[in-house]
């Protein structure tokens, strides 16, 4: 301990996740109170908890604030073009079926520009884990309305409030064929970590939606400081495992359902490909 080090204050840094982050890039770029950091940290804890060697994982992310995650994790990772994280990840999985492929990206990247890729990866049951940090807005580009912005919420492009209904992501994942579908918030970080851990060990297409505050671009225009958003997550959510995803739309006035919606087994893309196209090879 150096002379100016106080007990309980660590100036060197020996955080338990330091072996999984590129510490030379920390502090990361995410704003104070941004939920992406917590979702990312939860994902790293879940990776660690599987006990699988780190070199058997890879992380792929798209464009947006949460897309930066691929640059902070200390394993092989890919920061891809906008909306295309899932196609890149599918390519990796087809070439290296032994890898555990994680897609970590935002709602805009995965469900607006990349929406079609999501649908078809779920339909084909690509064996991967998709973690969507849903902050209800386009954060990086300055707070424009997104496909996930709740009705009536104010954004730079909806100054009178959003006239449209937001996407119900768990319903869409279920309808397209995902094997595992869950939703948590960053406040429920223990459940979130358990869900990511389950999803990583699950065969098939797993999808986890993480509600996370964007205090700078969503919160500021909707009179929510980051702590207010976390209190909303505590007061206006209902934990109901096995709930019907059709009831999972995001309306904080009525209450937002959290939990594991779907956990089912289907043949994966890789298994079906082997059985159909490689059956005469041996």
């Amino acid at each position: 301990m150096s002379a100016n080090t106080q007990p309980g204050i660590d100036h060197q840094g020996a955080h338990p996740l330091d072996d999984l982050i590129r510490t030379d890039r920390i502090p990361h770029i995410w704003c104070p109170g941004c939920g992406t950091g917590t979702a990312f940290s939860s994902c790293l804890t879940a990776i660690k908890a599987t006990g699988i060697p780190y070199n058997q994982f890879t992380m792929v992310s798209g464009i947006g604030c949460s897309g930066r995650a691929a640059g902070y994790i200390k394993i092989d990772s890919f920061h891809t073009t906008h909306g295309r994280a899932i196609p890149f990840a599918s390519g990796i999985k087809m070439a290296r079926p032994d890898l555990n492929v994680i897609v970590f990206s935002g709602d805009g990247d995965l469900f607006a520009i990349g929406g079609n890729h999501f649908i078809h990866a779920a339909r084909r049951n690509m064996d991967m884990t998709v973690i969507c940090v849903n902050n209800l807005i386009y954060g990086m580009t300055g707070g424009q309305v997104a496909a996930t912005t709740p009705s009536k919420a104010k954004t730079t492009t909806t100054p009178f409030g959003n006239p449209d209904a937001p996407f119900n992501l768990p319903l869409m994942a279920y309808a397209a064929g995902a094997s595992y579908v869950a939703r948590w918030t960053i406040l429920h970080v223990r459940d979130l970590t358990n869900a990511i851990n389950e999803a990583l060990l699950k065969k098939g297409f797993s999808f986890i939606e993480v509600l996370a505050p964007c205090p700078v671009n969503y919160g500021r225009r909707n009179k929510q400081k980051s702590l207010d958003t976390l209190r909303l997550y505590r007061e206006k959510t209902i934990i109901r495992n096995g709930a019907d995803p059709a009831r999972a739309d995001i309306d904080f006035g009525r209450g937002v359902i959290l939990g594991t919606f779907i956990d089912r087994d289907r043949d994966t893309c890789d298994e079906l490909y082997d059985a159909t196209c490689r059956r005469n090879e041996d």
Partner: protein, 85 residues
């Protein structure tokens, strides 16, 4: 009449003690750890870190129960707890 009774295993329940550590220069002062620590033992300090934020500090380090909640809610990898020696 006493409405509650002493649970039978009070003597055996072992409350873990933790030692919380703050990596000050990583903190961005979001206050999540302070707000959600179950023993409310953290508070903003008056000091500034390198980036100009006030990192948390504690005046009651012995209250830490090593629940790790501050560690897992922190978006910045700036705080963690270990079991007290």
């Amino acid at each position: 009449m006493a409405f509650w009774r002493q649970p039978l295993d009070t003597q055996e329940i072992h409350i873990t003690k933790g030692l919380v550590t703050i990596i000050e220069d990583r903190c961005k002062g979001c206050g999540y750890c302070i707000e959600f620590c179950p023993t409310h033992m953290l508070a903003f300090s008056d000091r500034f870190n390198k980036k100009g934020y006030h990192p948390p500090q504690t005046s009651r380090p012995d209250d830490c129960v090593n629940c790790h909640y501050c560690e897992i809610i922190c978006p910045e990898f700036a705080i963690y707890s270990v079991e007290a020696p």
